[in-house]
Symmetry: C2
Subunit: 343 residues, 2 copies
């Protein structure tokens, strides 16, 4: 029996990186590497994106209530539509599960999905179920729409544009740190009662993120079209690097401008490894906030926008993506890359 | 730490069945349980469907060349569009892999995807990659279009309509049987040279199925709009039962009318358990042929259509779905149900 061997010239996925991996896949097609595909001939475009969550990688059943998981799966798919400055309309769900899950468990999952769909006025129009040998895999396809001239891709940021982000950064990762700490304690002593008091905000940020369709609506109301946009799914550094690379520009963001919640700082200071809150913001990810650039002309409209922070500006082509510390030190931003797990 | 327990009132997925599981998910939404969701306000509708393949369940890396797997993943997603009498236009791919796969291996997978896209004039417009702890999961979202009045759902078959299917049935499953037999022999003796001679047709049917967009085009050319339609992904019995249930009708198909290739029959006769070819056709699945019903008025147009077989007719509401044997025995068709694997 022929079993294909790839021993010769083996390149590890981690060497190549996720973005390069996706562009190898979508090579020669429009909008490669963007949050959504853009379809349609008319002025009203259809946006489509697909997002997969894998048990044991993207979520841990130990501390993920199924209702929250369902909500999150829909929320992050919707976030891809918001990340193109579009309005989400429909979702389709492909669910692969093992027999470990009962129908009642899946009903909890579905309840969370339906809740998120209702909240964001999105219709769940289709689905597919299949079985796995172990664990759960959730793929959600989100469909949205946007006027052609309002679509914001990663490409488009211009020198001197303002860099903005919504909400706060690093809190989802702080929530994950709390859950992981409690998990370790629980595994050591199953009688242990978890201590989650005072961490409600960061926990909710991780377990039940909200797509920022409100920011998209606010920008539309004020007549601001971002020159470039993405969401912060793998940390601010990763999103900034994607945006700069696609736009062929550099950027300068200011550490003191990064919006970080006090609970995030508290979690960091309590962690034994004494992690810096700014590291959570730069590399934590899973915040699903929007990162976008706007022309300087839009400064007046943007500066009073609730929940929007101006964190820096776009520099010339050829310049690196950097963060400036309060001590005026310049740090070049690096991506974390594709974190494939060993089998 | 709260870990949700579902011990009380546990219902196994296998008790409920896949269709019921999907309709629980998409409850209250249009087109539930159909091959695609139908979107859009105008007369030109957008069809969207998502389909997931899981390593170890839907494919076995032991005998699945990655190029074939890539081709198949796209082909079966496209088949969902054909199954609604639509034309496929775009696909998006969500790939989750472990580090066991090298970049070169994924390039093989992509090459197969691109080949299938080219062959069916479909654009690969987007993608997403993520990591798994083990194995590969492939979700493909297919997008197509169809004029509103030409869309064929599972619902719509009328009493006395003719039941038609394309191609032949059971050959993909016969191919799987050959591969499984060779795998067992290989595992017992790794020096063993596989004997696949004379099985090329059934092997290709399993490893590299072709979506029947040609049948959709042929029906359009001849001005035939099926009253109901689906594809044969889980076997003829399963597809017929879905179609009858959705349409609120019964059906009668004739065993001697079922199109079965001689290689399928040969594989069946060589298997030690002496499986009947008709069982492959009814319950084997993965043929991705089209099953559809047409009005009797279209008989003249249908009967000379190459690759289309009239296998029976639609009976009244309240009647069962049955197969009539050459000995004139009537056998009620049963679904295989959701075959979740034990963890």
């Amino acid at each position: 029996m022929e079993q294909l061997q790839y021993q010769e010239g083996r390149t590890e996925i981690s060497q190549l990186g996720k973005v390069a991996l996706i562009s190898r896949l979508t090579d020669g097609t429009a909008c490669q590497g963007d949050d959504c595909a853009v379809l349609g001939d008319g002025k009203k475009k259809t946006l489509v994106s697909v997002q997969t969550l894998v048990e044991g990688v993207d979520f841990d059943m130990m501390y993920t209530p199924l209702r929250h998981l369902g909500y999150k799966a829909i929320a992050i798919a919707i976030s891809n539509i918001a990340a193109m400055n579009g309005t989400p309309r429909q979702v389709l769900v492909s669910l692969a599960v093992s027999n470990r899950y009962s129908v009642e468990a899946l009903d909890e999952l579905y309840a969370g999905m339906h809740l998120c769909c209702r909240r964001y006025d999105v219709e769940l129009v289709g689905g597919d179920t299949s079985s796995t040998r172990a664990g759960m895999v959730l793929s959600v396809t989100a469909i949205g729409e946007a006027d052609e001239e309002k679509i914001a891709c990663r490409k488009g940021a211009q020198h001197n544009d303002l860099i903005c982000c919504s909400g706060d950064l690093g809190s989802a990762y702080a929530g994950l740190l709390v859950l992981e700490r409690e998990k370790v304690t629980y595994q050591a002593n199953p009688d242990f009662q978890p201590d989650l008091d005072g961490f409600d905000y960061v926990l909710e940020r991780f377990l039940k993120p909200e797509p920022r369709t409100d920011i998209v609506a606010m920008l539309a109301e004020r007549g601001v079209v971002p020159t470039a946009m993405t969401d912060v799914s793998e940390g601010l550094a990763d999103s900034l690097l994607h945006l700069c690379r696609a736009s062929g520009v550099g950027c300068e963001v200011y550490e003191e401008r990064l919006p970080i919640d006090y609970q995030t700082s508290r979690v960091c200071s309590e962690m034994s490894n004494n992690m810096l809150p700014v590291s959570c913001a730069l590399n934590g990810g899973k915040d699903y906030e929007l990162l976008f650039t706007v022309s300087q002309q839009d400064y007046e409209k943007i500066k009073e926008m609730e929940g929007v922070h101006i964190i820096g500006y776009v520099t010339e082509s050829g310049m690196p993506a950097v963060m400036v510390t309060p001590q005026n030190t310049t740090i070049e931003l690096r991506a974390q890359g594709f974190q494939g797990t060993e089998e």
